[in-house]
């Protein structure tokens, strides 16, 4: 540490604080990044990583504290100002424009003359040099998630950054793409570019990063050399306790509860994915996982299974042996289907309605409606039961859904579905953006439910999660589903290969 300070730090933060109504997102954070260093910011969801990065990138202004750049105090008033200093950022949720081409997207982030032709050749130069193959004239909506990330990276590199911020860059990548990304990042670091690498994935950080600063509830909870730590010690710094354990009772799969038979559906959305010949059986007492990078037909498959989109051929989806492809979501629920969608606010729950009102959304079948009228007393009771049995932290049944944290709202939605005793439960991204405690709780609930004989289908981008809870795993790429393999007969690497799809082929070509 003392040696590092003799050289000017590329970036130094001192006492950076940012408050939002009701929360302190960053509390007096200190951070030092040296030239050419790959520095990890580690922390679980809601620890304040993204806010901190937005302040460095000038998108959010700190309430207190000082930023030093190359030894000089600076105020970063806007992303433009950050870019002029030499700071580039690759966002977790890409900041790209789908209807524009790659070169148009890049042009918007660059200053200077508006000349798309010469810019296109500059893009090709940079992408060759760093092994980030992209075609400048394609529209962004036609690109895979991995390709979009390359566009973001190339856009940063064209500005010759001295510091590159990567916000959860691997959450959307296949294992192979992650390896390629790491090669690029190491090349950049060796050329002197500092990299701030934000992640909650311990293994990656141990592989890639020179140093790590750990955030917990907005405060720095420790610094470490990740290579010298174990996942357990890093997790200890990150969540303050050791990782919670899960208990897995033995379960014996029974009869087929959910059958998907050659499900084919042409997308109506010009930016969507068509499903082709998807087949899968889910048995009673079994958890089947669908792995894959989002944007490969997950949304379309979920909509087709839940009934939000109906199918032309009713025999494509069978519930308890009964064809339901033609039925809408409500009718499928009447037959014992439960569904937890990946968007909690706005789909799984109505943000501006209370938890009690949100209970009615799907649980109105539990005698919450009498004749044409809502039964206010029973609705309240159901919501209370859901809140207490699933440990939902909230101000009570009257609390609006939008006032809950991601983890608590997810517990409420999962609870609402489970309390209706479904025969088949479909869950999309069960723990996206959820803190570790809630994530463990939700996974445990799924395990317990399967032990009771419910057939469960889980779609997730987190391979570790799928391997933790599933009996079998299939992979969805480009709208087709691979055969489901028993967890005991496959590995994360093998599933990762299957996820490759388009990206993997391109990697070979390049």
């Amino acid at each position: 540490m003392t040696i590092a300070l003799q050289q000017h730090a590329r970036l130094r933060l001192q006492g950076i604080t940012k408050r939002y109504p009701g929360v302190v997102a960053n509390d007096s954070v200190d951070l030092t990044v040296m030239p050419g260093e790959i520095h990890a910011i580690l922390g679980e969801n809601g620890a304040g990583k993204s806010t901190l990065m937005k302040m460095i990138y000038g998108a959010v202004r700190p309430d207190a504290g000082q930023i030093f750049w190359d030894g000089h105090p600076v105020q970063i008033a806007s992303p433009m100002a950050a870019r002029q200093l030499g700071i580039g950022m690759v966002f977790q949720h890409f900041s790209l424009f789908e209807t524009l081409t790659v070169v148009e997207n890049v042009a918007l982030a660059l200053e200077g003359k508006f000349d798309l032709t010469s810019l296109a050749s500059r893009i090709e130069d940079v992408s060759d040099r760093y092994g980030l193959s992209i075609e400048p004239h394609r529209h962004v909506h036609s690109l895979s998630v991995g390709e979009r990330q390359r566009v973001e990276i190339v856009r940063c590199l064209l500005q010759n950054p001295k510091l590159l911020i990567m916000d959860e860059p691997t959450s959307v990548l296949t294992p192979q793409a992650v390896i390629r990304l790491f090669i690029t990042l190491r090349q950049l670091a060796s050329e002197g570019c500092s990299i701030l690498y934000i992640s909650h994935k311990l293994d990656e950080i141990r592989q890639l990063c020179d140093r790590a600063t750990v955030l917990r509830s907005g405060k720095v909870s420790g610094e470490a050399n990740p290579a010298e730590e174990t996942p357990a010690t890093l997790a200890q710094l990150m969540i303050g306790t050791s990782l919670p354990e899960m208990s897995r009772q033995p379960r014996t799969p029974g009869e087929v509860k959910l059958a998907i038979k050659r499900l084919t559906r042409q997308t109506q959305d010009p930016f969507g994915v068509s499903l082709a010949q998807v087949r899968l059986d889910v048995h009673a007492g079994e958890i089947v996982g669908i792995a894959g990078v989002s944007g490969n037909g997950q949304a379309e498959l979920m909509a087709a299974l839940s009934g939000e989109q109906t199918l032309a051929d009713k025999h494509m989806v069978l519930l308890d042996g009964q064809p339901v492809g033609h039925l809408d979501a409500g009718s499928r629920r009447n037959l014992g289907l439960g569904f937890v969608p990946e968007e909690r606010l706005g789909r799984g729950a109505v943000p501006d309605m209370s938890l009690a009102e949100n209970a009615v959304l799907t649980a109105h079948r539990q005698a919450l409606v009498q004749g044409p009228l809502l039964s206010m007393g029973r609705i309240r009771q159901f919501a209370l039961q859901c809140i207490s049995s699933f440990g939902v932290k909230c101000a009570g049944p009257q609390a609006p859904a939008r006032s809950l944290s991601g983890g608590n709202l997810q517990k409420f939605i999962v609870g609402r579905e489970i309390l209706q005793s479904p025969h088949v439960l479909i869950v999309a991204q069960p723990t996206w953006g959820v803190d570790v405690g809630a994530a463990t709780f939700i996974r445990q609930q799924l395990l317990d439910l399967a032990a009771k004989g419910v057939a469960i289908l889980v779609v997730s981008e987190e391979l570790e999660e799928l391997f933790q809870i599933c009996d079998r795993i299939a992979v969805l790429t480009g709208g087709t589903l691979s055969e489901a393999k028993p967890v005991s007969e496959t590995t994360i690497e093998e599933i990762g290969m299957l996820m490759g799809g388009v990206d993997a082929q391109e990697g070979e070509a390049a």
């Binding site: 998108a59 790209l96 148009e104 508006f114 959305d269 930016f271």
Partner: protein
Amino acid sequence: MLDHTTALLAATMAAGTPLVYAALGELITEKSGVVNLGVEGMMLVGAIAAFATVASGNSLLAGVIAGGLAGMLLALVFAVLTLTLMANQYATGLALSIFGIGLSAFVGKAWLGMTVTGFQKVSIPLLSSIPVLGGALFQQDMMVYGSIALFALISLVLYKTKTGLLLRAVGESPDSAHAIGYPVVRIRYLATLAGGALCGVGGAYLSIVYTPMWVENMVAGRGWIALALTVFATWRPARILLGAYLFGGMTSLQFHAQGLGIAISPYLLSMLPYLATIVVLVVISRNPQTIRLHAPASLGKPFRPN
């Protein structure tokens, strides 16, 4: 019969011109992701401002400018409410239309029944002597030519410059534009004000050139038709021009029906542009994919930087 055709075509151009101005204005606004349903109100206020200016002895050009400023002023009210105070764009646009109708009627009481002299027709040498079409297309007033120049300018800016690219980008994803450092709210303000000014100019054309007199509520739904035109055109300038003349033709038809030997109740003929609007909306909206591909993705959705 040929004379009638020329006259009808010429009238079509003139009747379409206020729609060209207003719809191109709304196009600019909507490209930035803002939908302003106050076109009718802005046109009316533009119409009375222009008329009052000219009737008070000022030049026609001063009238056009006054109309544009009045429309812009109303658009400013809309922008403050929706872009700064986060009010619902649809409700605010409706309020703007209702307010514009009331305001123009209130101010306009003093000018009822007066007339002014509009722009002279300007013949373009050679072109205007082309049979049938020449008289229709190249013997028009300056504001008609102006509307076509405006169309060319907007097409050029929208598709060939960084400004246009930025406008489209903000309309598609204000979050992305904000993330890479563009002042989304300011850009939307400018687009809304530009749109309001053009709606005002469209209204001005009605009151000081087309009619030219002040009649209460004289815009008679053209503001709403201009809104429908942006959908019909799937947000592309060339189709706006086409659509505007199509509706101009419908409007002119009622006045030339007798000359063309059509005997239908004038009440029923008057319904024609409104009926056509519905038909056109149905035909275009039927295909959600076209709309999805061309509509600004953030249209009508509020954006607040944090």
